[in-house]
Structure formats: structure tokens, C-alpha cells
């Protein structure tokens, strides 16, 4: 009995050194500021990482492959930064290729993580990182994946001996409140409100030269956005400076194209995944909603017909109205969106072609 206890315990003993080795490799990769496979494979070779499979005997080969692939899998997913996730992909690919089990132990891909991988692929595509896309394709071509329910096999007793593995903090995208706060939804909402406010202002005042109208800042949204972008750039520069003060100047124009490339990818990944993640979908559904609203307000609604001297419905009545109109669409919409819904009921669609708002956003991207 004790022999068996050792055997099962033994493979578990490798969990922490394996994680340490993977993290070490990825931290060296992170220092290069690159997303090139060439750079990754150079570090791999310098570390003799293929040897990590050497010295395993018989069935241990397979259980060790399983262990290390499961350990590396997490780096492919959020919350890690785009560069680390690229490193995670390269690591999985290299481990899959180098393992000593035959046939090779597959990489387990959980259904819930699929969308992360697809989004990751799209970001890589947008930034034209050929090696990233190619390697992802290669893994699919080689049938390297087990399309699974869970990232690991689950045996209930794990519960008791679970030690929560600390995520390597350096690899995680720097949290940033401004970006989380000023996201695409907010910008869009702000655009709507801003436009409506402008229309409202000009509708109350008879003369267009009214000074209160001039108080509206036309470039509010683009400016807000570029400020957040500036902040992000400054922040990532700060981060780089923290790590290596000598290279402080290098973060300017002096960057190599490779660095630039990864900077760009990082920027795209972080800004986009955080701020523009659901942008396309949100916009579409919102446009759809706007149309419905426009329809009711111009045809059936008494609300939009008269500009001046209209009687305002109570908030509750307007809410009910909008709920009625929206039907199913209303469900699942975040509470912040209701501001524009309620406001737009009061206005004719002709005042503002619905696409102009989108254009503002597109321009600012």
C-alpha cells in the first residue's frame, strides 16, 4: 500500500517545480518584449527545456506529459497579458512536440475557454502575428487538442489537498481603473447622452447663439478616450521603466520593429480586450434597439411629435413604455443603457441619423 501511496504522490511532487520552470521560461520571454516564436525557441534551447521530459520511466512519461500540459494551459488564457498568452501558446506547442509519450498526450481545451482562444486568435490576426496564428493552426491540424468539458480531469477528493496555486503576478495585465471605467460601453452611452443633451439644449433655446449651448464641448468623447489611451501608454512605459531603468529612453522612437510590434499587440490586446471587447456586439444590438424606438416614436408615439410644449411623462411611465416597446430586447441590458433608452423616446430620429454616433466611435478608435 505504501508503495502505491508513493507512486501517486510522486507525480504530484513535480507540480510545483514544473510551474516554476514554466514561469521562469515565460519571464525570460517577457523580458524580450517580443511575441516572436524565434525569440521563444531561442530561450527554450538556452534552457534545454526539451530535457524536462528526460528521465521519466514507462507510464510516468504519460502522467508527466499530462501534468506539464495542464500546468502550461493556464498561461494561454486571461487574465494574463497578450504577450504571456503568446508565450503560453508557444509553450504548449513546444511541450506537445517534445514530449516522450507516444502517442502524444493531447492538450485539454475546455469548452468554456474556447471563446478566449478565438478572441486571442483574432487579436493576433489583427496585429498580423503570423507565427502565432500558424502555430495555433498547426496544433489544430495535428489534432493536439482534446475538446473537453473541463481543463483537467476531476476527481472529487482533490478538494482536501488543494493548494491554491498563486498566479504569477508579473504576467497579469496591469489593472487599471481608468480603462475599466472608461470602456466602450461608457463611451457609447456618453456619446448618446451627449448628443441628446446637445439637441435638448438647442431645442429649448430659440436662438442658436445662446451661450449655454456653447458650453457643450464637442470633442468631449474623443478627448476622454485619448486621455485614457495616453494614460495606458504612460502606464506601460512606467512598467517597463520599473523593470529596467536603463532602457527608459528606448521606449520612445528608438524601439525596434519587434518591440514595436509587441507593444502594439499589447496595446491592442489590453485596450481592446478591456475597452472594446464586446464593442461590435453591443453596437449592433444597440442599433437594433434604436431602430425599434425610432419606429414607435415617429409613427405611434405622441412623444416625438411636438418639440415644444410637450408634456413629459413621469419616469415610471417612460420606463414602462420603453419596456413595452423593447420587449425581450430589454432583458439582459445593463442598467446604464437605460439612460439613453429613456431619453431617446423623447426625440425624433430624424434629428440624428443613427449612424453618426457610431461614426464618432469609429473615428476615435
Amino acid at each position: 500500500m505504501s508503495a502505491k501511496r508513493c507512486r501517486r504522490g510522486e507525480i504530484e511532487l513535480y507540480r510545483s517545480p514544473v510551474t516554476e520552470d514554466c514561469e521562469h521560461l515565460l519571464s525570460l520571454f517577457q523580458k524580450t518584449d517580443s511575441v516572436r516564436f524565434e525569440v521563444f525557441s531561442k530561450i527554450w534551447k538556452e534552457m534545454n527545456f526539451s530535457h524536462i521530459f528526460h528521465g521519466t520511466v514507462k507510464h510516468e512519461k504519460r502522467s508527466f506529459s499530462r501534468l506539464i500540459l495542464d500546468s502550461a494551459y493556464g498561461f494561454l488564457l486571461p487574465p494574463f497579458s497578450f504577450q504571456i498568452r503568446v508565450g503560453g501558446l508557444y509553450l504548449l506547442y513546444s511541450l506537445f512536440q517534445s514530449q516522450t509519450a507516444a502517442p502524444p498526450e493531447p492538450i485539454r481545451l475546455a469548452l468554456k475557454d474556447w471563446e478566449h482562444v478565438k478572441k486571442f486568435e483574432k487579436d493576433a490576426m489583427d496585429a498580423q502575428h503570423m507565427d502565432v496564428i500558424y502555430i495555433l493552426r498547426q496544433l489544430r491540424l495535428q489534432r493536439a487538442f482534446h475538446f473537453s468539458a473541463t481543463p483537467t480531469r476531476l476527481v472529487f477528493r482533490k478538494l482536501r489537498k488543494k493548494e491554491s496555486p498563486a498566479l504569477c503576478e508579473n504576467f497579469i495585465e496591469r489593472a487599471s481603473r481608468p480603462q475599466e471605467l472608461i470602456n466602450i460601453d461608457l463611451l457609447e452611452e456618453l456619446t448618446n447622452v451627449h448628443d441628446l443633451y446637445g439637441t435638448l439644449k438647442s431645442s429649448v433655446s430659440e436662438t442658436s447663439e445662446n451661450s449655454s449651448v456653447n458650453l457643450i464641448r464637442d470633442d468631449l468623447i474623443p478627448q476622454l478616450r485619448s486621455t485614457v489611451m495616453d494614460f495606458h501608454k504612460w502606464q506601460s512605459r512606467q512598467g517597463a521603466a520599473d523593470e529596467d531603468e536603463d532602457e527608459d529612453e528606448g521606449s520612445g522612437e528608438g524601439m525596434s520593429s519587434q518591440q514595436e510590434c509587441s507593444r502594439r499587440a499589447q496595446l491592442i490586446a489590453s485596450i481592446k480586450s478591456k475597452a472594446y471587447g464586446e464593442a461590435a456586439e453591443a453596437r449592433k444590438s444597440r442599433r437594433h434597439r434604436q431602430v425599434e424606438l425610432d419606429y414607435t416614436s415617429s409613427v405611434a408615439g405622441p412623444l416625438g411629435s411636438s418639440r415644444s410644449g410637450r408634456t413629459k411623462l413621469s419616469l415610471k411611465a417612460r420606463t414602462n413604455e420603453s419596456l413595452l416597446v423593447l420587449g425581450d430586447l430589454y432583458e439582459g441590458v445593463t442598467s446604464s443603457s437605460t439612460i439613453s433608452q429613456l431619453c431617446s423616446l423623447d426625440f425624433k430620429p430624424e434629428d440624428k441619423p443613427k449612424d453618426s454616433k457610431i461614426k464618432v466611435l469609429m473615428k476615435t478608435r
Binding site: 526539451s50 493531447p106 439582459g332
Partner: protein
């Protein structure tokens, strides 16, 4: 919203991280995956690398030269950590390792060298089971596992007895396909209690039947997520779950329902991966059942339908030896036996008869004797 919510619940997520998932419908899970994948992803046929590369180059709008360069950069050669003509021995930890993993393994390797023990039987057995079935193709196409079919890993644990303090709970691991029924799982579970003979036979040891209680007690059930699945294949099968159901009804428990295990396929089930469920037979022999993995089939799986349910792990329990000769596996348990060094005591057939009966076969002294089937007799 209801529709989209329902769709999402069939994308398994953790109920408790790394322990078990929330509940999902297996067939819907399969559909969710297949909707996201291309047929090639689950195909058993290899794809042509060159045509795939050509397609990639076209899609990305890159020249043949660039494509060739990309291939070289991403090739296996680019990862090789040694000169091509001097491959190291993969069975040995390389000298002076720097990787943490290898330092750990070297310690073990050095320790092992001092022991000089040969591999135990269990290790060999695990190897054999796996190696036999990887990518195994059937003789006829009819027996071919379908692409995109569901494969389940199921652990069935043996009742906790003296071994309950061990790190490894004895269990078997069975691979099943989504199209299998629960009855097929039942038939794949081999429990020593199915072979247990009941009764005291000290007065007529020759009358002890060789087996088998499976014949006498055919009733059994599985329990998954509020449903008892009874085996009703034979006329003598009884619904053994009804007692529990009615007991629960009296006590305001959530209502349980019943179904037939022979009519229920795995794809029909709603389950949590990693969650302990129950198999009960012989009236009171209870086994934990854990579905440890649900996934789509892969080209390296055993592709011969006929070999399923496929046993991939079987716990080797050490056999209980005869208290007298310490050589043979125990066949008899005696109680209140003054010839015995302990109470109860285990004897092999030969020692039992030599000690307890005269040459004519007459019983000597007072004792009770029960036929015994060793758990290890299955090895």
C-alpha cells in the same frame, strides 16, 4: 433570455473550482462543441500538411518564400536542445540539470539506483492496458467509433473498508461512449460482492457453490442528479430505489424520480463532472461513481466500438493469504474456531480441510465456516 441562458448552462463551468462543474446535459455539450469546430478538428484522418500550408499562405496573403520561412521558424528543429547527431538518452536525467523539475527527478533517480527494486506488477499492468488500445482500429468499418462522439472517463470506487485510510482509493476506470447505456456500465463493473457466497457451510464444505450472487440479486441502481436509474432488464429485478424514494417523500426531501438504466444513454444524462454519484447493488453494496472527464473522441482513442466499455485502470489489491501456509489465497473464513490463531481466521482450501476434518471428511470440533472470495482474486 431564457433560451440563451439555457444554451449557456450546457457550457460546463466550475461549481467549485478544480473540484466539480455545474450540471449540464451531455448531448447539448457535444452539440455546443461541434457547432464551434470544423469537421477537421474531430476527424480521425490526418490532414495534408502541404495543402494546409498553401491554404494558410493564401488566406494570409503571404508569399511562398515567407511561408517557407515561417515553417522553418516554427519547425520542431527550432526546439532541439542538442546537436542532431548526438541525441541524449531520454530515459536518463541529463547531467547537471538546471531546471527545477530535473533537479527533483535526479534526486529520485539517484535514490532509486540505491534501491535496485524492479517495477511492481501494478506499473506493468497500467502500461499494458493503455498501450493495447491507443488508436486501435476495428476490423470492420461498422465497428468504428463515430467522429465527434462523446467519450466519458468513469471512476467506480470500491466500498471503503480497511483501505479507507489509504491515499489511493481502490477503483476501476472505464471509458464509455456517449451512446452507451447505464446498463452497459453496470455490466462492466466487477465487484467481489457479486461473487460472494452467503451462508455457513462447515457441515458440508463440498456443498458450497462456486458462486455467484449476481444470479440471485439482479437488482441494482445508479443515482445521478435526483434520478434513480434501476436495472429492470430481468423479470426478477426489483426496484430497490423505491424504499429511498418513499423515505425521502415522507421527510420533505426534494422529490426523486426513477428511470430504467437500460433505456438511458450517457448523452441523455444531466450530470456534474467530478461529482460523486452512486451505484448500489446486492441491496447494500454501494460504490461511488465519479465521471472524471467528458470530451469528444480523438484519433488516438481506441476506435473499436467492440472494445468498449474499455477498462483503463484496475486497482490491484494485495491478496489475503492463508493464515497457516501463507502461500495460497484464502478461501474460507472461520469463526469461533479453536484451531484458529485468530477470530475470524482465513484459510486456503487445503489447510482448512486438513485442520478441520478427518480423513473421512467428518467435522472436528465446533466452528462456523464461510466461503470467502478474495478481492485480489480478480487480478
Amino acid at each position: 433570455m431564457a433560451a440563451s441562458k439555457n444554451a449557456n448552462t450546457n457550457i460546463p463551468d466550475y461549481e467549485y473550482t478544480d473540484v466539480n462543474t455545474n450540471i449540464f446535459h451531455i448531448d447539448s455539450f457535444k452539440t455546443e462543441w461541434l457547432n464551434r469546430l470544423q469537421p477537421g478538428d474531430v476527424s480521425f484522418q490526418p490532414e495534408d500538411q502541404d495543402s494546409s500550408d498553401a491554404l494558410f499562405a493564401k488566406e494570409m496573403g503571404i508569399s511562398a518564400d515567407t511561408m517557407a520561412e515561417l515553417k522553418t521558424v516554427c519547425s520542431l528543429d527550432s526546439l532541439r536542445c542538442h546537436p542532431e547527431d548526438q541525441p541524449p538518452d531520454p530515459d536518463v536525467v541529463p547531467p547537471d540539470p538546471t531546471l527545477k523539475t530535473l533537479i527533483q527527478r535526479k534526486k529520485k533517480q539517484d535514490y532509486r539506483a540505491t534501491l535496485k527494486i524492479s517495477k511492481n506488477r501494478h506499473d506493468l499492468y497500467a502500461d499494458e492496458l493503455e498501450r493495447l488500445t491507443f488508436g486501435k482500429k476495428p476490423e470492420t468499418l461498422d465497428d468504428m467509433v463515430a467522429e465527434g462522439e462523446i467519450i466519458l472517463n468513469i471512476n467506480v470506487y470500491y466500498p471503503a473498508t480497511f483501505e479507507k485510510f489509504c491515499y489511493v482509493r481502490p477503483h476501476i476506470t472505464v471509458l464509455m461512449m456517449g451512446s452507451h447505456t447505464l446498463a452497459e456500465l453496470r455490466d462492466a463493473i466487477c465487484c467481489v460482492n457479486d461473487l460472494q457466497v452467503c451462508g455457513e457451510f462447515s457441515n458440508m464444505p463440498d456443498m458450497a457453490p462456486d458462486f455467484i450472487s449476481k444470479d440471485h440479486f439482479k437488482s441494482a441502481f445508479f443515482y445521478f442528479e435526483g434520478v434513480f436509474y434501476n436495472d429492470m432488464r430481468y423479470p426478477e429485478c426489483q426496484d430497490t430505489s423505491i424504499t429511498t424514494i418513499e423515505w425521502a417523500k415522507d421527510r420533505n426531501f426534494p422529490t426523486y424520480t426513477q428511470a430504467k438504466m437500460e433505456d438511458t444513454r450517457f448523452v441523455d444524462l444531466k450530470i456534474k463532472v467530478g461529482f460523486p454519484y452512486l451505484y448500489c447493488h446486492q441491496g447494500d453494496c454501494e460504490h461511488l461513481v465519479i465521471i472524471t472527464d467528458v470530451r469528444l473522441t480523438h484519433k488516438d482513442d481506441c476506435l473499436d466500438k467492440k472494445l468498449y466499455p474499455l477498462l483503463t485502470h484496475k486497482h490491484r489489491v494485495s491478496t489475503q493469504k492463508c493464515a497457516v501456509c501463507h502461500v495460497y489465497i484464502g478461501r474460507w473464513v472461520t469463526t469461533n474456531d479453536r484451531f484458529a490463531p485468530s477470530n475470524p481466521c482465513l484459510f486456503c482450501d487445503e489447510c482448512f480441510r486438513m485442520l478441520h476434518y478427518d480423513t473421512e471428511g467428518n467435522k472436528l470440533g465446533e466452528f462456523q465456516a464461510f466461503p470467502y472470495v478474495d478481492r485480489g482474486a480478480f487480478n
